[in-house]
C-alpha cells in the first residue's frame, strides 16, 4: 500500500493500520496533507489548512500510540471541521466575509471531545455562508469529487467534498434542514443528523436554535458511529443536551436487521423521485429484505407542506441571531444571505408560534406513522447532483425546478428531532451517487446504525471511491 492509498481507507481501517504497525499517525496525516496539497485547490473544499499544527499533533499522537496510550478509534485520524465550528486559536469564518479575522478563544464542545479522543485537525472546511443556503461569492463554490463543477448538495459542502475525495477520514457538518445529509447524498457518503439534544451545539455558530444539529460525515456507517460516540452526550454549556447515557454505537452495529420491521415510504412520498432514485431505493430496500428485515409500507406526513414551518422557524431564529451584525455591517454578508435574512423582518411573531404548533402536530403525526416499525427508509434525495448554480435540471425527459425539492426529504426530521442518516445507495445513469435515508425513533441511533450497516453489507456501495482528480 502506497502512502497515498492510506487516504482511501475508512477511518476504522486507518485506525487498524496504525495499531498493526503498518502506518503511523504521521503517515496517515501526512498522506492527507499531501493529497490536500495536490487536490485541495481544485476541490475548493477548505478555507484554512493547518498543516504545520496537524503534523505536530500527528507526531504527538504517534508517540503516544507507540508508548501504549491509545485514545480510541479517532487517535491520529485526520479530520476537517465545517468552518462554523469554533477552534481555539484558528480562524472561524462561518463562510462569511463579515467574520474574516475572527479567532475563537475556545473550542466547540464537540471539537474539544474529538481532540481529547486523539483526532487531528487538518483543515476548516468550506460551507454556505452561515450555513444558510448560498455561498459567499468571495469564497466561491466547493465542488463534488465525483464530478468537478457539480454541486455537493448543501451547506456542509467542504466537509463532504473533503471526505469523499480522501483529504481526511471524517468531517463535522451542521444540519438545519438537511445540510449534513444532502451533501452526503450527493457525494456518496454517510451523513448523520442525530436526535435533537444528543450532540452539543456549544461553539457551533447557530443558524436556528431549535432545528440545528451537528454531526459526522464519513465514508462508512462504522466510521460515523465511532465519531458520534465521541461527540454525543450531555454538555453543561448547551442546555438542550440530554443527560441520557450514550450507547456504544460501534459495538451494537453488527446486530443485524433479521426480523426487524422497517417502514418503506409509499408512492405519495416517492412521486417526485427520478427513475434512478426509485431504482436505487428499490434495490436498497431489497438488500435490507435479503438481510432479514420485514419491510412494510408506511405513509408519512406530506413533506411539501413543511416548507412553511421550517422556513419560518429558521428565518426568525437566524435573523434574531444576525440582526445586530447585519445592521452594523450589511456589506459583510453576501447578497443572497442578506436577502434571506431580510425576509424575517416581514414575518410576525404569530407566524413563528403557528410554525411551532404545526411542528407539534408533525411530531405527533410522525410518531403515529412509525407505530409498529423500528425505522422508516426513503431515498436520501429525489435526484442526483447537478451543475453548480443550476436552477433546473432535466429528469427523465422533463425539466424539474430544483429549489422546491431541495431538502424535501430531510427538513422534516429537523422539525421532529428524530435521528436520520443518509447512506450511499448506488449510482444514477450518469455515474453520480444516489442515496437512502434511514430515520429512527428519538435517541434510537443504535437501530439507525444497525440498519445502515446491514445496508452496507447488502450493497457494498461504501467501498466505492470517486475517480482521482489528478
Amino acid at each position: 500500500m502506497s502512502r497515498d492509498d492510506l487516504c482511501d481507507l475508512s477511518l476504522m481501517d486507518a485506525a487498524a493500520a496504525m495499531r498493526a504497525g503498518e502506518a503511523s499517525a504521521v503517515d496517515v496525516v501526512g498522506a492527507a496533507l499531501d493529497r490536500t496539497e495536490r487536490d485541495g485547490k481544485a476541490l475548493n473544499c477548505y478555507l484554512h489548512v493547518v498543516a504545520e499544527a496537524a503534523m505536530a499533533d500527528a507526531k504527538a499522537r504517534a508517540e503516544e500510540l507507540a508508548d501504549g496510550r491509545d485514545r480510541g478509534p479517532l487517535h491520529g485520524i485526520p479530520v476537517s471541521l465545517k468552518d462554523n465550528v469554533w477552534t481555539a486559536g484558528i480562524p472561524t469564518t462561518g463562510g462569511s466575509v463579515s467574520r474574516i479575522g475572527w479567532i475563537p478563544k475556545e473550542d466547540a464542545t464537540l471539537w474539544a471531545r474529538m481532540k481529547r479522543a486523539g483526532a487531528v485537525l487538518v483543515a476548516k472546511a468550506h460551507l454556505y455562508e452561515f450555513a444558510y443556503g448560498a455561498v459567499n461569492p468571495t469564497f466561491g463554490h466547493a465542488t463534488n469529487p465525483w464530478k468537478p463543477g457539480y454541486e455537493t448538495g448543501g451547506s456542509s459542502n467542504g466537509s463532504a467534498s473533503s471526505v469523499a475525495a480522501g483529504l481526511c477520514h471524517a468531517s463535522i457538518g451542521s444540519d438545519t434542514s438537511g445540510s449534513i445529509r444532502g451533501p452526503a447524498a450527493y457525494c456518496g457518503l454517510v451523513g448523520v443528523k442525530a436526535t435533537y439534544g444528543l450532540v452539543s451545539r456549544h461553539g457551533v455558530i447557530p443558524l436556528s436554535y431549535t432545528l440545528d444539529a451537528a454531526g459526522p460525515l464519513t465514508r462508512t456507517v462504522t466510521d460515523a458511529a465511532a465519531v458520534l460516540r465521541v461527540i454525543a452526550g450531555y454538555d453543561p454549556l448547551d442546555p438542550t443536551t440530554s443527560r441520557r447515557e450514550v450507547p456504544d454505537y460501534v459495538a451494537a452495529l453488527e446486530g443485524g436487521v433479521r426480523g426487524m420491521r422497517i417502514g418503506m415510504v409509499t408512492e405519495e412520498t416517492l412521486a417526485v423521485c427520478s427513475r434512478d432514485a426509485r431504482r436505487t431505493f428499490a434495490d436498497a430496500v431489497e438488500g435490507l429484505r435479503r438481510e432479514g428485515a420485514v419491510i412494510v409500507p408506511v405513509r408519512i406526513p406530506d413533506m411539501m407542506r413543511l416548507w412553511g414551518p421550517s422556513d419560518v422557524i429558521t428565518t426568525a431564529e437566524a435573523l434574531e441571531y444576525h440582526r445586530d451584525a447585519l445592521a452594523r455591517n450589511p456589506e459583510g454578508y453576501g447578497p443572497a444571505v442578506r436577502a434571506r435574512l431580510g425576509r424575517g423582518f416581514y414575518m410576525s411573531a404569530l407566524d413563528y408560534v403557528r410554525a411551532q404548533r404545526v411542528r407539534a402536530r408533525l411530531i405527533a403525526d410522525m410518531d403515529a406513522a412509525m407505530e409498529g416499525v423500528s425505522a422508516v427508509v426513503m431515498p436520501g434525495h429525489p435526484v442526483g447532483s447537478h451543475p453548480i448554480g443550476a436552477k433546473f435540471m432535466e429528469v427523465d425527459g422533463k425539466e424539474v425546478e430544483l429549489a422546491p425539492i431541495s431538502g424535501l426529504y430531510t427538513r422534516m426530521f429537523n422539525l421532529t428531532g428524530q435521528p436520520a442518516m443518509t447512506v450511499a445507495a448506488g449510482f444514477n445513469t450518469t455515474g453520480l451517487p444516489m442515496s437512502m435515508q434511514i430515520v429512527a425513533r428519538p435517541f434510537d441511533e443504535v437501530t439507525m446504525f444497525r440498519i445502515g450497516r446491514a445496508h452496507e453489507r447488502a450493497g457494498g456501495w461504501h467501498e466505492r471511491r470517486p475517480p482521482r482528480l489528478s
Partner: protein, 59 residues
C-alpha cells in the same frame, strides 16, 4: 396581479400583518415565496396541539 402578490395580500388579511400593495412591490421573489409558504402553513389544522417548546423528545 401576479399570484404571489395576491398570496401575500391574502396572507396579510389572514394574519393581520400590516402589508399593503405598495409593500409588495418592494419585496424580492424569495420573500414572496416565503409568504406563499406561510399562507400554506396557516391552512394546516393544529387544533389540539400546543406550541412545541421542547424538542429533545425526553420521555
Amino acid at each position: 396581479m401576479p399570484r404571489e402578490e395576491e398570496t401575500l395580500l391574502e396572507y396579510a388579511k389572514l394574519t393581520g400583518a400590516p402589508v399593503t400593495p405598495e409593500d409588495v412591490k418592494a419585496l424580492t421573489p424569495d420573500t414572496l415565496t416565503l409568504f406563499t409558504r406561510i399562507r400554506a402553513m396557516w391552512e394546516i389544522d393544529v387544533d389540539g396541539f400546543e406550541m412545541a417548546t421542547t424538542f429533545d423528545r425526553e420521555d
